[in-house]
Amino acid sequence: MIKFLLKGILRDRSRSLLPIIVVSLGVFLTIVMSAWMKGIFTDMINMNANFTTGHVKVMTRAYAENVNQMPLDLALLDIDELIQNLENDYPNMDWVPRINFGGLLDVPDENGETRAQGPAAGKAIDFFHNPEEVERMNILKSLVKGNIPQKPGEAIISYEFAKKFGVKLGEKVTLFGSTMNGSMLFKTFTVCGTIRFGMTMLDRGAILVDISDAQLALDMENGSTEILGYLNDGIYDKEKVDAIADSFNSKYSKANDEFSPQMHKLEEQSGLGDYLRMADNMIGMMITFFVIAMSIVLWNTGLLGGLRRYTEYGVRLALGEEKGHIYKTMIYEAILIGIIGSIIGTILGLGMAYYLQEVGLDFSEMTRTVSMMLPTVYRATIFPKLFYIGFIPGLIAMVSGNALAGFAIYKRKTAKLFKELEV
């Protein structure tokens, strides 16, 4: 019967063309919008992962409890051994130590006394041995002047700070604060570059130094505030990360030792879990919206088709075909049209999503003054769900639209058929 119906659909295009176009269009939009939204959310999450959270982050249990205060005295120690263990146990990840610190950035005058000063939010990364870290934080592209630290004692400072206090490349600035032991921190750096990430929260008083310099200045020999882990393919995979975090915590983290390391997944930090769930909810809402909207359109299309095929159904009833059988063939037809439309829409949608994934749309001009951590080029992301997600609105809308329209068949009275058909 399916072969028979398929022939009917292909030969009588007036019966199938419009529904196939409507279904294809709906499926196309569902796929492109889903890929687009997933892409934007993924980019934002990647940005947070690269700057602050990693795909996973290892901290001491005590540090994790007070992470907003950046308590250096609760930092990780013996990190060489810990990183070695992490590399042995989880070789499919890149493990990088970082130090976050705060303090006061002081600019001296010719007598070595304070000329200007402002609060500093410091970050120490491995500039000298890990070029991936520089790339991950997009430092080269964000440099306004100068270059990254090449030797100990060099620092990149915020472009805004340098501009406000007239600090030039090659000049000295002193970082004042507290070390890990609570001693006074005085460390003078030579400014080798100025940076602007384009995000207020990162640009305000930022200072970037090599991790070896920070360890020395902060009395943190072989220590760091955190060790970030990134999956080698660079894509956050919840299942992989869940398995790694569970295994690490059961092996190394001890509830009775506040200085034992504890691994935190990306979604457990900075409310990113809510963000991921919001992305999934929005995709779900969008599909529901398309199903409802397309059902209404296809219901009307089905009604028009029903009217157009009024005589045909009448003849089939007059010939003794069961009402239920006619209704059933109509639903089968709708399923076939839904499948054809969904396949066409999925192919076109995936093509467009691939284009947006590779090329993206550049919104840098529009986001120039935005202070949130946002990407400038918005790209789509193709993910496995996209290969079948379009069939949900495509099939449900087509079948439900025709099912509603098909009720008219049951209202036909056999006794009046010949009169209706003017036989």
Binding site: A62, D73, T179, S183, K187
Partner: protein, 244 residues
């Protein structure tokens, strides 16, 4: 009606007497704790989460306007100097040969990881100058009878809006103190002990400060030597001394 009038008048007289009494108590405390000038040798034992450190220092101060402190040990802090003139504070670091002026919110930061802030170290004003006191009760601490005084700030530029002090009724020195923010939140707690008579006045030589917003077991401040009203050379309170 007459009765109510009498009770009200009686209450007013009693509270006025109590208030006067409280301010007199505070004056006596100031007499013990404040001086024209002083030279203090001290040890500060900071109990952190991971370890404890002892820092020794020598301080000179004149009234509440000038003070100079030189840190003597450990090696990491040796040679670090702090100079306070009026409401300005400079710190000298020998490792960088820099003099940094501390101001604004940085004054509220911890001093060398202790439970004391720079602001705590700087504010040496007499209690009677900045607070109005009320006696709110009596209690014993370690077998010594104490007045409990509630102090409310009468100036704006003050770190702690309210203080609750337990004052020894015989020696007029504080044995315990709770420091509160304007919101009523308890910020710090201090206990005073090892009270000695120095140059005719009582003075506590061991103090334990606890920052209630910070983890750790607090900071012990032990006075190993104190001399009041000495001849202190004026040049000590100049920025030139910092680099010497």
């Amino acid at each position: 009606m007459e009765k109510i009038k009498y009770i009200a008048i009686l209450l007013m007289i009693t509270s006025a007497a109590y208030a006067q009494n409280a301010n007199q108590i505070l004056e006596k405390v100031d007499k013990n704790m404040s001086s024209k000038n002083r030279i203090v040798e001290s040890e500060m034992i900071i109990h952190g989460k991971r370890n404890s450190r002892t820092i020794t220092s020598l301080s000179y101060s004149v009234g509440d306007k000038k003070s100079f402190t030189e840190y003597l040990s450990p090696a990491r802090e040796r040679g670090t100097k702090m100079l306070k003139l009026e409401n300005k504070l400079w710190i000298y670091s020998p490792s960088t040969d820099r003099i940094i002026q501390i101001s604004g919110h940085m004054l509220r930061q911890s001093l060398m990881g202790s439970d004391l802030s720079y602001e705590d170290m700087m504010d040496d004003r007499k209690l009677t100058e900045v607070y109005t006191a009320t006696v709110i009760g009596q209690e014993s601490i370690d077998g010594r009878k104490c007045y409990i005084l509630e102090l409310k700030a009468k100036v704006v530029d003050i770190a702690y809006h309210t203080r609750k002090m337990w004052i020894d009724t015989e020696r007029y020195i504080p044995l315990k103190e709770d420091l509160f923010a304007k919101s009523g939140k308890l910020l710090k707690q201090t206990t005073f002990s090892n009270v000695k008579k120095v140059q005719g006045r009582w003075f506590p030589t061991a103090m334990v400060y606890k920052d209630m917003l910070k983890q750790g077991d607090g900071t012990e401040f032990i006075v190993t030597g104190i001399r009041f009203n000495q001849e202190i050379q004026e040049y000590i309170f100049t920025k030139a001394v910092l680099k010497q």
